[in-house]
């Protein structure tokens, strides 16, 4: 508690930031931060593009979050100003104004101004950034009345809380002077980013590592950041990753970079902190997706029977080692006001499942089989595979024969989301702070064939579609929340998709790292206050 707001100097304004620092200070356990050292981070996958305004993905933020900063970040207490210091919305929701921080310089020495925000918003966020193109489809222009004021103009009302929820991920300005007049998709800075963050990009060796080093001119003051350097190592094999952690070659492994068995094992090792803290903004659902074009699955009773046949608690214990909870629809329990647990549920009950299947007109044949399903599991690693096998075995017990069809990622995505060549599928889908920019695409009809993680299930409800659209532009947060509660209830009743298990990601972190996981999207954040106890 000896860190006072005063230490942040005049640049840091706003109560939000002060709270954030206080939270961090608790983790630091009253130790004096030390300067210097290199933090080494294991990454399982490699995004290859290091421009958060072109690729909206935690894999990108994990690295670029330290180099390129968003307008706003999220703390446990709400929104924290980063490159924007203040924000406000017009009454009609058609104009949102950001006051930009002054005195911030890009790593190449140029000033950060509204031109950067305007250029990025119009050319990348609106045009090229996945998910953001939907969010910003009504953005007409970004005006710059002065170099440090950006006014976003919309043709339809933009709810402020939606905008705020989206901005930490989808609101990274890029340096306009380096992108203007170039082919944005092939710009060299997409893989060698220039930002305003506490670390400067140094080197990217594909398949090996990314290095960033301390930005000595960081706007938060010269004591930040504490670390000299951050290195991200790409280790795809999860056993090798665990070994690297134990051998001390790596300090942190995020987004479940090691196997669940190793997660459990390392959680008992006092060299490591293991937990889900810091992922509140990045919760995912393990799903069961139905192809409603199959008349058997179009029958609600069958879908409900399948839900009853799944022993979710056992799956959580065996597959996720307890680091998860049963899902309650498209909004996870970390979804804040938009979440409700007042929804219908389907407790594990084999007999009931069998009875419902009988009732639906699918009695067991002589061989005990009622019908067959072709199931496509997503190849996203250990737990999607195990979950698929768990699912198949569970259904076998109620007389549904499941054939698992394995494919690699493009094969899976094409098979399910373009060709609809499946009966059931499983995977996971990430919740991105606000239902409007994430899980609602599971329910909203009308996305063209071939769009992954959208409603390609052959399920459509006019009521749901209308409610989703209304919620996306509803300006009153309470009314919005109520609409999402209703959507959750419908989703749990109609079961277009089973949001079976809600699981945050898990990090294994060396205790040498101090001040880690102190924000709800910590792995994507800038780590300016992270330090290494050597």
């Amino acid at each position: 508690m000896n860190i006072s707001t005063g230490r942040f100097g005049p640049l840091l304004a706003g109560a939000m930031a002060a709270f954030a620092v206080t939270a961090a200070a608790v983790d630091a356990d009253a130790q004096e931060p030390k300067r210097g050292g290199t933090a080494i981070i294991q990454m399982k996958g490699e995004q290859r593009i290091l421009n958060p305004a072109l690729r909206a993905s935690t894999g990108v933020y994990y690295i670029t979050g330290k180099i390129v900063e968003p307008l706003i970040d999220k703390s446990y207490d709400g929104y924290e100003p980063v490159l924007a210091t203040e924000w406000s919305s017009s009454e009609d929701g058609l104009e949102i104004t950001f006051k930009l921080r002054e005195g911030v310089k890009w790593h190449d020495g140029e000033d950060f101004t509204c031109d950067d925000v305007s250029f990025t918003a119009m050319n990348m966020w609106k045009e090229l950034l996945n998910y953001s193109t939907t969010l910003q489809q009504n953005l007409e222009a970004v005006d710059c009345p002065d170099p440090h004021t950006a006014v976003f103009k919309y043709s339809k009302p933009m709810p402020m809380d939606l905008m705020l929820a989206a901005m930490p991920d989808l609101g990274h300005p890029m340096p306009a002077h380096l992108y203007e007049g170039t082919d944005i998709l092939k710009n060299e800075h997409n893989t060698a980013p220039v930002g305003t963050g506490p670390f400067k990009f140094v080197e990217y060796q594909r398949g090996q590592y990314v290095i960033a080093e301390r930005n000595d001119d960081y706007w938060r003051g010269e004591e930040y950041p504490y670390l000299d350097r951050i290195v991200w190592r790409f280790i795809t094999d999860s056993s090798a990753a665990a070994a690297a952690l134990e051998a001390g070659e790596v300090h942190e492994s995020g987004f479940i970079g090691v196997s669940m068995a190793d997660v459990e094992r390392l959680s008992e090792d006092d060299r490591f902190d293991v937990g889900t803290k810091g992922y509140e903004n990045n919760v995912a659902h393990s799903t069961v997706e139905f192809n409603h074009r199959n008349p058997i699955l179009a029958d609600l009773k069958v879908r409900q029977a399948i839900y009853h046949a799944l022993d979710i608690d056992a799956a959580i214990e065996t597959i996720m080692r307890g680091y998860a909870k049963p899902g309650r629809g498209p909004v996870p329990s970390t979804g804040g006001a938009n979440y409700t647990d007042d929804v219908p549920t389907y407790p594990f009950d084999i007999e009931k499942a069998k009875a419902m299947l009988d009732e639906a007109g699918y009695p067991a044949g002589d061989d005990g089989v009622r019908f067959k399903l072709r199931h496509r599991p997503a190849p996203w690693g250990e737990y999607t595979q195990l979950w698929a096998e768990f699912y198949a075995q569970s259904l076998k017990k109620v007389g549904i024969d499941v054939e698992i069809l394995t494919n690699d990622a493009p094969g899976f995505l094409t098979g399910v989301y373009r060709d609809h060549d499946f009966d059931t599928a499983n995977g996971w889908h990430q919740f991105r702070a606000d239902p409007a920019v994430s899980t609602m695409v599971w329910l909203r009809s009308g996305s063209p064939n071939g769009t992954p993680w959208t409603n390609q299930f052959g399920w459509q409800s006019d009521e749901v579609d209308a409610m989703i659209d209304a919620a996306a532009s509803e300006l009153d947060p309470e009314k919005r929340a109520e609409m999402y509660h209703e959507l959750q209830r419908i989703s749990m009743a109609e079961l277009p998709v089973i949001f079976a298990i809600e699981h945050p990601f898990i990090s294994v972190t060396s205790k040498k790292l101090i001040n880690h996981h102190n924000t709800p999207r910590w792995n994507s954040s800038s780590w300016y206050d992270l330090w290494l106890d050597q």
């Binding site: 056993s239 196997s259 669940m260 068995a261 094992r265 065996t318 075995q393 076998k396 394995t406």
Partner: protein, 293 residues
């Protein structure tokens, strides 16, 4: 001293099978290989008798260590599946993969090699260019590509393994055919007016087979290793308990519950070893080069 022994036949020789077995038996390691293979075949045959009959079914608590609970003598994996049941059924799958993939590759290889070796000339040139092309592409990369295209069902994996392993038997068959087609007994049947196809398949093929049969044991071993490597990369067929799948899944618990991967791993090592030893024995029995008495 009569030199006219023309019509006196030498004493009748023991049957081919007996001679073969005598030669084979001389190699102790090969006999061990045959024994191992016998055990594996027995496992495969009796897999249906062992409970649980479905090796993918949850049989107990997850990750029970071997020899702890006699319901699951070799322990269970992460999903509580009985490892011993997996070993039983995996023997079936591994043998099936080994045998079928080998048959596919030998069939392709022998036909191509036979035609190239027998006809020579431009036919040989074209077929050998194709063979070279296949041989130049790293086989595992080709295998990955084929599995990506066909999907990971067990039939497709076997087919893909067969497709990537035919070049060696093709070259072998070609070499045999090239040398055999110049042999006098082939000239003799050509001189009798026997057609090309009959010469290829009825006259040369039986004589060209021994080295191919020996090589088949190598392919069988390779096929099992290739399948396990695919499974390790997560491209196995999850509908069957193959040993490769078991290792692939067991590797995530390798550090503590190492037995989940090690038991099927040892099963693979022993199976491949048995094929290799078998191959050595076959080689000495079918292509006796070193005269040992």
């Amino acid at each position: 001293m009569s030199l006219a022994e023309a019509s006196a036949l030498p004493p009748e020789e023991p049957s081919r099978a007996l001679v073969f077995w005598r030669r084979y038996r001389r190699n102790k390691a090969a006999v061990l290989g045959l024994f191992l293979l016998g055990v594996i075949v027995l496992l495969a045959l009796t897999a249906g008798l062992y409970e649980p009959v479905d090796p993918l079914r949850r049989a107990g608590e997850p990750l029970i260590w071997p020899f702890q609970d006699w319901a699951t003598p070799l322990g269970t994996d992460q999903l509580g599946r009985d490892i011993l049941a997996g070993i039983f059924h995996g023997a079936r799958i591994s043998l099936m993969i080994g045998v079928v993939a080998t048959l596919i590759s030998i069939a392709i290889g022998v036909v191509i090699g036979a035609i190239a070796g027998y006809f020579g000339g431009w036919v040989d040139d074209v077929l050998m260019r194709v063979t070279e092309a296949f041989q130049t592409v790293p086989n595992f990369v080709l295998l990955l590509t084929l599995v990506a295209i066909l999907g990971s069902s067990i039939e497709n994996i076997v087919l893909a393994i067969g497709i990537v392993s035919w070049t060696a038997p093709a070259r072998l068959a070609r070499a045999e055919f090239m040398s055999l087609r110049r042999r006098e007994f082939i000239e003799a049947v050509r001189n009798l007016g026997v057609g090309d196809m009959a010469i290829i398949f009825k006259e040369i093929l039986p004589n060209a087979l021994p080295p191919v049969v020996v090589y088949a044991s190598v392919i069988m071993a390779l096929a099992i290793l290739l399948e396990s490597a695919l499974a390790f990369l997560g491209l196995g067929d999850p509908n069957y308990a193959s040993w490769g799948n078991m290792i692939g899944q067991g590797r995530s618990v390798l550090r503590v519950e190492w037995f989940v991967a090690a038991i099927p791993g040892i099963a693979i090592v022993l199976t491949v070893l048995s094929f290799s030893l078998l191959g050595e024995g076959l080689n000495e029995a079918l292509n006796p080069r070193q005269k040992k008495g």
